[in-house]
């Protein structure tokens, strides 16, 4: 019996002997993925995701900003709950996550030029996030399994410290004289031109400064002007924008323009925008209208009344500038810079929503903003001159109003998430945005109030419940920025 037991044990041992070689080594290492990547592999990823995030956010917010209206008259279009889930994912999981990784690796490798760009990318994405959801995670984010439920930063902290710190430190990094490596073709926007990144950082500083007009208009204006006094955009060539190609299609082209070809109508220009540009509202026809809206074979430009889902003749077809395959997706532009400057100068001069007249500099910035945007989207020079010469446009510095600046900025920010920020900063004021009304079929839960925020995405709600619940607010509750 004993012998049998021994034999048994020996056999078992024999059979289980050394399988380390068979199971260990590279056995469980995926040959199609890597454990380390270089800086130039991460940079294009985070840039492309940033552009995609701008599309995702603008797709929804442009309906509240009444650039566009929804064929299904739902969600943002009627001020119902909208969450921009894919936008959140692009911002947090793709753009910022890879930018953060880029920053960490760049710092380890002593490559401040990459680190600087990585910080700018984080700043613009964090700005995008806070402007839609208010309080959002950042300081506790990106710790992997160490922190699975990151708490949120307040919008105040984001505006007052996090974004300025990121941008200031980015500028410092970009000015560093030595960097172990510097971007080139992997920088899909500026092809390694660091000066243009510094300009972008300064324009972003100005943008996030002017966002705080409700915290003290003069202070916000001065901060913005100070930022712009540094190295800032001086031409449309400086724009922070991403060109696509026929392999990677511009999202507005692929998902709105091309979708129309097969009957997948998603959004069309809002009546508010069309009437602002076709002469109905302001008595002057804007030559940009035929470039950004396609009325097909119809005689007139008719927009869709938000909340109705119909009645329009115009669409964002592949023949329009923004949905053309060959045009870039605009994120931060020279035109926006000029309007930030115009608004800042107007406010710094003591102007307000009701005041008339400002400085020549404010007036010039306003006119230049119009002109450069028109040039950007290819309006004929003659038509630009013609439009600007219209007395309703070139009113003279003494007749300058905030309404003119903000209305023109709103047009120049077509399909840019910034447009909705401006509307909220000025509380959807009809004094600035003439005839801007609630959509039809307006969400009855809001009791006639305008919507102020996107709701946190379902994914985040179920995955980081405590943090979301601690920061959730009612749809018409103003963000800290706008209080």
């Amino acid at each position: 019996m004993k012998r049998t037991v021994y034999t048994y044990i020996i056999l078992v041992l024999l059979m289980s002997s050394s399988c380390e070689d068979y199971l260990g080594g590279d056995t469980n290492i995926d040959p199609t993925r890597v454990s380390e990547v270089s800086l130039e592999a991460l940079l294009p990823t985070s840039i492309e995701a940033t552009s995609e995030a701008h599309y995702q956010v603008a797709l929804e917010t442009s309906q509240v900003a009444q650039h566009m209206a929804d064929y299904f008259s739902a969600g943002a279009d009627i001020h119902d709950v909208f969450r921009i889930g894919t936008g959140w994912t692009n911002i947090y999981l793709r753009a910022m996550a890879n930018a953060k990784q880029l920053e960490r690796q760049a710092e380890e490798q002593n490559a401040p030029h990459y680190a600087g760009i990585a910080k700018i990318i984080q700043a613009i994405n964090l700005g995008l996030a806070t402007d839609n959801w208010e309080n959002v995670p950042f300081t506790e984010a990106y710790q992997g399994a160490e922190e699975l439920t990151p708490a949120y930063d307040t919008q105040q902290a984001i505006y007052e410290t996090i974004i300025p710190d990121l941008l200031n430190s980015a500028i410092e990094d970009l000015q560093a004289t030595s960097s172990s490596s510097s971007p080139g073709a992997d920088d899909l926007v500026y092809r390694g031109n660091l000066e243009q990144w510094i300009k972008t950082a300064n324009v972003l500083k100005a943008r996030y400064a002017i966002h705080l007009t409700n915290k003290g208009a003069a202070e916000a204006a001065n901060q913005a002007l100070q930022a712009l006094s540094g190295l800032a955009y001086t031409s449309n060539e400086d724009d922070f924008q991403l060109f696509y190609d026929e392999r990677n299609l511009n999202p507005w082209h692929a998902r709105i323009g091309l979708a129309i070809n097969t009957g997948n109508y998603i959004i069309a220009h809002s009546e508010q925008l069309v009437e602002a540009m076709n002469g109905d509202t302001y008595g002057v026809f804007d030559p940009r209208l035929p470039i950004i809206a396609d009325k097909g074979t119809s005689d007139n430009y008719i927009g869709m009344v938000n909340g109705t889902g119909e009645g329009n003749t115009v669409n964002l077809t592949v023949d329009t500038w923004y949905a053309s395959a060959n045009n870039p997706l605009l994120m931060v532009t020279y035109a926006e810079t000029k309007f930030i400057e115009a608004e800042a100068r107007f406010l710094a001069n003591g102007g307000d929503i009701n005041s008339i007249g400002s400085t020549d500099a404010a007036y010039l910035a306003y006119l230049e903003g119009i002109a450069v945007h028109m040039m950007k989207i290819g309006v004929d020079t003659a038509e630009i001159i013609n439009y600007i010469a219209n007395p309703k446009v070139s009113v003279g510095a003494e007749n300058m109003t905030l309404e003119l600046i903000m209305k023109e900025k709103w047009i120049a920010l077509f399909l840019n998430p910034e447009a909705w920020v401006d509307l909220r900063r000025y509380d959807y004021s009809q004094a600035l945005y003439k005839d801007f009304e609630l959509p039809e079929n307006h969400n009855p839960q809001l009791g006639g109030q305008f919507i102020q925020r996107a709701s946190y995405p379902f994914d985040e709600l179920s995955r980081n419940t405590q943090a979301v619940e601690a920061n959730m607010k009612e749809l018409p509750a103003e963000m800290w920025r706008d209080q």
């Binding site: 289980s16 469980n28 692929a254 097909g296 074979t297 419940t465």
Partner: protein, 1031 residues
Amino acid sequence: MRKIFYSLIFFMMGICCIYFTAWAQPRSISGNVTDLSDDTPLPGVNIIVKGTTTGTVTDVDGNYKLTVPEDAQTLVFSSVGYVTKEVNIGNQTEIHVQLSPDVQSLQEVVVTSFGIEREKKALGYAVQELQGEEITQTKQPNIINALQGKVAGVTIQSSGGQPGAGANIIIRGITSLSPTANNQPLFVIDGIPVSNETIAGNTLPSAGSNSPGSSEQYAFSNRAVDINPDDIENISILKGPAATALYGLRAANGAVIITTKKGKAGKATINVSSSYGLDVLNKWPDIQTTYREGRFGRLRFYSDGEPLRFQTFGPPVREGVPVYDNFQGFFETGSRFDNSVSVSGGSEKATFFTSVSRLDQKGIVPFSGWDRTTLKVSGTSQFSDKLGVSGAVNYINSGGTRSSSGDKSIFSSLSYYSPTFDVNDYINPDGTQRDFSGGIIDNPRYIARFSNLEDDVNRIFGNLGFNYKVTDWLSLDYKIGTDVYSDSRNRVGPPNTDVGSQVNGFIIEEKINYQEINSNLFITASKDITEQFRGSILIGHNLTDIRSDLINVRGEGFALRNFNDLSNATNFFTYKDASLHRIVGVFTNIELEYAGTVFLTLTGRNDWSSTLPEDNRSFFYPSANLGYIFTETLGLGESNIFNYGKLRLSYAEVGKDAGPYQVGRYFERTPGFPFLGINGFRIDEQLGSPELKPERTTSYEIGTDLRFFNNHFGIDLTYFVQNSQDQIVPVPVSNATGFSTFITNAGEIQNRGIELLIDVTPVQVGNFQWTASLNWSRIRNEVLSMPEGVDEIIFTDAFYIQNKLVEGGSAGDLYGFAFRRDNQGRLLIDDNGFPSVNNTEYVKVGNALPDWQGGLTNTFSYKGLSLSFLLELRQGGDVFDVSLRNSIRNGILKETERRYEQVIFKGVRNVGTDENPEYVENDIPVEITGENLYRDGNRYNNAAEVILQDASWFRLRNLSLSYSLPANMLDDTLFKKVQFSFTGNNLFLSTPFRGFDPEGSQFGSGSNSFGFTGLGAPQTRSFTLGVNVTF
């Protein structure tokens, strides 16, 4: 490896050849075995010289010939279903034997782990076995579908009526909290595992499809579809961890053990089986025939005359204008032509079995089809008293033209297609698409012809086994097997279709390679310790190596029209995937038997898996089961009333490892890149814990097997509880962590259920026999705990309906939007007079899994005539029909026919405030125009009450009538047996479900998506005539 494999094939073929030439026969006995009750010859009877391994089996005529040693005393004749008989040899050279039938034999031998045959009475767990005939009589090309309604505790979900469509099988419930985990059993053929994977791959263009992935496209085959049903001798379903403990982690979800036919000693037998069948659509939704296309009651057009809208909310159809029932008219009559030939035979020392089969199938969807060619060579030989060798090789070629399914497919287009237009009028003389909506809705027939996927699978699987009897109590078994296949897929999305337009046409070439090698060694020692007390010990070693890779090349942007080749594309996207999974296992099985009354089995297995971190790689799990035939103790064995009673108890644990490459963090090429010629990488969105440990499933099972009236009535009842804890789950985490999912051990899920089998032989008079067997099961699933901080895990999100798991909930729970109601459940009517749907909150609205299911088979036989039918009942199980919602929104279904009618919705209005509601009966009259109700998600079509349906069913799953020519008629012919048969599937279906047959998942087999249908080829009713001839 491939080289080795081919060598094996040749080696094996060699074995077969050697045999038929080499053996001499010094002394032989021959004879004939017949059935005592009707004198019919009995094929396949085992004849063994008692006390030796020398033996043979009878041929189809019941004849045998056997060479016996000089000193042979007794021959033992045994056959499943008959009482074993021993005959003294003496000086006889011719021995004829009659065996008496054992109505429901207790000596049944079932195949358990590693093909080990065990007496059913010795098992302490439930096993259900089906004979090959029960599979082939269904005429189902996919063996999984053939199991429908037959096995208690098994849930089968077919992915529809596409020829070659995959089918999903789950035994005893969903055991994983992970949406991507495999919940399906291990498939084993002749002791060696084979792949039953369904590989969805990627068939989507870079833009222009809203499909969640390829799992809802093309109803890809589960690879068990490659098995020729005619090759199957029997299938044994091992249901729980107790039954599968020896197989280890791969069989944690149960196992389907297939034993194939073997050659039998005697003259070569040729069997030819041929059948031809027709398939038709078995159920379709009713359409409205009153209104035509348009909106707001008018035919609307753009100013240039193009139709503006694709909806069917237009003016009434004028008299004389034809209306087309496209839901019915689109489908054709499908066909199946199935031929199979097998040749088998051998001597006492060596046997062979070869078969070749060919199935040609044409689907009910125009232009779709699938075919399968199989070739099998197998043999066994007894080199000496001690050494036996067996082997088999199968070659299969399968594939076909698959019709598109899912989003932007045939079926989504069909669900929108206005009944005023004939869907079959699909092409213009210049070859362009003809449709009614100006390019908005594709013509389904046009996509069926021009936008499909072809797959071509070449597969070889086989095994080679050695058996060596060291002494009479010690034997050694070794078997090595491999399964290798390649799957080449080609998909085209023409530029002028919805799915291809955004990328100007695309073509996808996908190559999938799969290879699996298994090696099993076991040593068995068995001994009678005393007269009453017997024991055996088995120790074994198992090695598994599974590797697969996939290369996907997508070309987009066609330069030329109608040239479907990669060279015609402008932009290229490539994707590669690879995986390697290795497992080493050591196991032992100890069996103890006392007096044929008490049977105790103990098992233990230790696995080492390559997919777990080194420190947690090794894990052990035990099992114990007990079978106690209490009627023996009570001395009831001779009783005519209660002649057999057995109690079964088992406890088992089984471990489960992770998928390959789930541990740690990776970077991957950013999808869509290179971008502007620059490549990019990103952090992989999934992070795997470096401390992953194996999952553990613990199961308790108690059962009893009771037989009465000389086995004319039998009940088998099983209750089980199975807990799976420490689940390896991709926990969804806040994107702000930098990841989307974190793979870790968390959560526990429980399945408990009852399985009931009843066998009755109500009538057995002379040559007439009526048998009935019922199986019934109900399974309850509960999520006992979730990963910390996670409230829900979404399995499938179809927006309007989600399948998700929450703590305290169960697998299959469906969530959706519901109508607003007051606290008494009355419909709340808005001030506009319409009901309203709460679109902001997901509430639980149903469950996709059935409450219980059962099948009843009745078989009547009289001489050569046999009629058998299977009634299947499935209670509960809710399904969201995606195409039904489309059809409601577009005014196509009968249920949208009430228009321009004033109604008052039954419900209440709140005339108080939100805080202090005061409800009064609604009295606001409203006019339904069509759009203002049916098209409106807020008022109607988003409500789960409208779009989620009860998919309970009662169906005549299968009816089979067969007639065998009497043996005496064939006496002077070449034929030994001639059988004609008629088979009908789904001849009758009763279900509250409106739409196509609810059996037909929108998502493919292996996808873990339950409760969704409507965007795939629907189920069929089929009629098959067959003839089976044995020479």
